[in-house]
């Protein structure tokens, strides 16, 4: 296999943890940042820092231009119909909350919100809160033991009362790639609005929102080599127009009187206050970094490593795989027979291996699989074959220590 070799772009990866070379296999929690992203953010503060969308001076104009250029990049990158359909948020969680909050005024008691059983808490709890406030009912797309969604029942789950269908593109806990097009078309047949949590999809595949025909799509910069605290909500213009503003403040207004105000148009209506300017600008550098390598090349690299790792893991008798869906990406979730995931994680950490253990903020999945949690390795463009080899050696040592 022809592998990418990108470690040199990531200064953080060149260090020792507990005296051992760092093997970072927790990229689904957050990816590391390439030097160019770090440099871009430092350079912004050294030469362009200023508030955006206000001020007639040179710096403000330069900051605004760089900021809006990233909106334009994202518009092109995920193929939205309009630039103003890209709303900057704090991240995926913030995006879910924005939409769920907006729907408070659009739902009636008895309406239904269909969510999948495969969700991260961030794409579940905001809908629970919406259901509580609006009197709408939560219904669920069931998860099979393989970690795939059971879409055979979809037509009976979606009916005229279903107003929102929310699910993830790729599961953070099990790596399942969901059949998004099928669910979208079933939802649209019934007139329901579709929200997709794309946090785990962004770093691994090209996203084309118009081709998907999705109504809302959310993602986070920090999971795609960009900084934390910045993300996006894509929404079709007609839906973004229908939703009321989420937060009030500066930037989101057209005219303000003491007793009432009129609101700005898209996208500013949803961007109250000074935005995370350096975050947006750093994200722009991350997108360019991904595009220079090619998202398809990244996916191929990760898929090769994933099957390499899975092959080696399968040879270890005590390994139990969780999530056996036909289509998966960048994540292997597993357990060790007779051992708690936490113990495995603690011992791997002693050998410089960073993995995630626990329920991965997806407790209902663990409940359904009847396990306390899993050990999860997650890959990125910079993960190497050597990382996998070191991980396997460390895992074998871990198992012998625990027995």
């Amino acid at each position: 296999m022809k592998q990418l070799n990108l470690k040199h772009d990531f200064p953080i990866l060149n260090q020792k943890i507990n005296g051992k070379p760092l093997v970072y296999l927790d990229s689904a929690a957050t990816t590391q940042k390439p030097q160019v992203v770090i440099d871009t953010m430092v350079e912004y503060y050294k030469s362009s820092n200023s508030n955006v969308h206000r001020g007639v001076h040179f710096l403000s104009e330069r900051a605004t231009d760089s900021f809006e250029a990233v909106r334009s990049s994202l518009h092109r990158y995920i193929n939205t119909a309009h630039e103003h359909e890209i709303i900057f948020t704090k991240g995926t969680t913030d995006s879910v909350n924005l939409v769920a909050h907006g729907f408070r005024s659009l739902l009636n008691p008895g309406d239904e919100i269909l969510v999948s059983e495969l969700e991260h808490h961030s794409n579940l709890v905001p809908w629970q809160m919406l259901a509580q406030v609006s009197g709408a009912k939560l219904t669920f797309i069931p998860m099979l033991q393989s970690g795939e969604l059971d879409i055979s029942m979809l037509d009976s789950l979606i009916n005229a009362k279903t107003k929102i269908v929310a699910f993830n593109h790729i599961s953070n806990a099990l790596g399942t790639v969901n059949p998004v097009k099928k669910i979208i078309s079933a939802a649209h047949k019934a007139g329901a609005c579709v929200f997709i949590d794309g946090a785990q999809a962004f770093p691994h595949m090209a996203i084309n929102v118009q081709e998907l025909d999705v109504d809302f799509y959310a993602g986070s910069a920090h999971k795609m080599y960009g900084p934390a605290g910045i993300g996006l909500l894509y929404g079709k213009s007609e839906w973004l127009e229908k939703l009321p503003p989420y937060q009030g403040g500066g930037e989101m207004i057209a005219e303000v009187k003491l007793k009432e105000s009129t609101y700005a148009g898209l996208p500013h209506k949803f961007e109250a206050g000074t935005p995370n300017i350096e975050g947006v600008i750093g994200w722009g550098a991350a997108i360019k970094w991904i595009e220079d390598i090619g998202i398809e090349n990244i996916r191929m690299h990760e898929d090769d490593l994933l099957s390499y790792a899975r092959g080696l893991l399968a040879e270890i008798p005590d390994v139990i795989f969780y999530g056996t869906a036909k289509e998966r990406a960048a994540v292997i979730s597993f357990g060790i027979k007779g051992s708690h995931p936490y113990d495995v994680g603690v011992l791997l950490d002693q050998m410089g291996i960073a993995v995630r253990t626990g329920h991965h903020c997806a407790q209902p999945i663990m409940t359904s699989l009847k396990i306390p949690g899993t050990v999860r390795i997650s890959l990125a463009a910079y993960t190497s074959k050597e990382d996998i080899d070191m991980f396997i050696v460390a895992l074998e040592k871990t198992i012998s220590l625990l027995n």
Partner: protein
């Protein structure tokens, strides 16, 4: 009876024999395996400390000989840590426990297990042990 300080010194000496992390964790794991199982009836949700990573159960009663704790976890390394923590406070008087800081963990290089980011339930367990100390102060058995 041994004081908290005596028991801390014992543990520090015990751990001073280990040259590397593997020996230390092998010992911690065997302590975890040896820790007495908690009576199932006492593993109530009231006694449960929910961690994100591992679960901990803690129960205590005041006796003439001081506070007697029993605790358990679903993770073996957490059980090993519990064994160490309880060894120091077991049977001590409430006033000794109420403000006890478990300083010996730093000397044996295991403080990371009490870091909040581990979310293993141990931070809350330590707080709960102290709270039992406070609650039992002034009570006669």
């Amino acid at each position: 009876m041994e004081t908290i300080i005596d028991r801390e010194e014992d543990i520090i000496e015990e751990f001073s024999f280990f040259d590397d992390w593997m020996d230390k964790y092998t010992h911690l794991i065997s302590l975890g395996k040896e820790l007495e199982q908690m009576i199932p009836e006492n593993k109530t949700s009231e006694n449960q400390i929910k961690g994100c990573q591992s679960q901990v159960w803690l129960n205590a009663k005041l006796t003439e000989n001081g506070i007697l704790f029993e605790a358990d976890s679903d993770a073996i390394i957490t059980r090993g840590m519990i064994a160490l923590l309880l060894r120091v406070v077991q049977g001590q008087k409430p006033e000794k426990i109420a403000s006890y800081e478990f300083n010996f963990l730093e000397k044996i290089g295991l403080t990371t297990h009490l870091s909040p980011s581990r979310a293993n339930g141990l931070v809350s367990m330590v707080k709960q042990i102290r709270l039992y100390g406070v609650a039992f102060q002034g009570k006669k058995k």
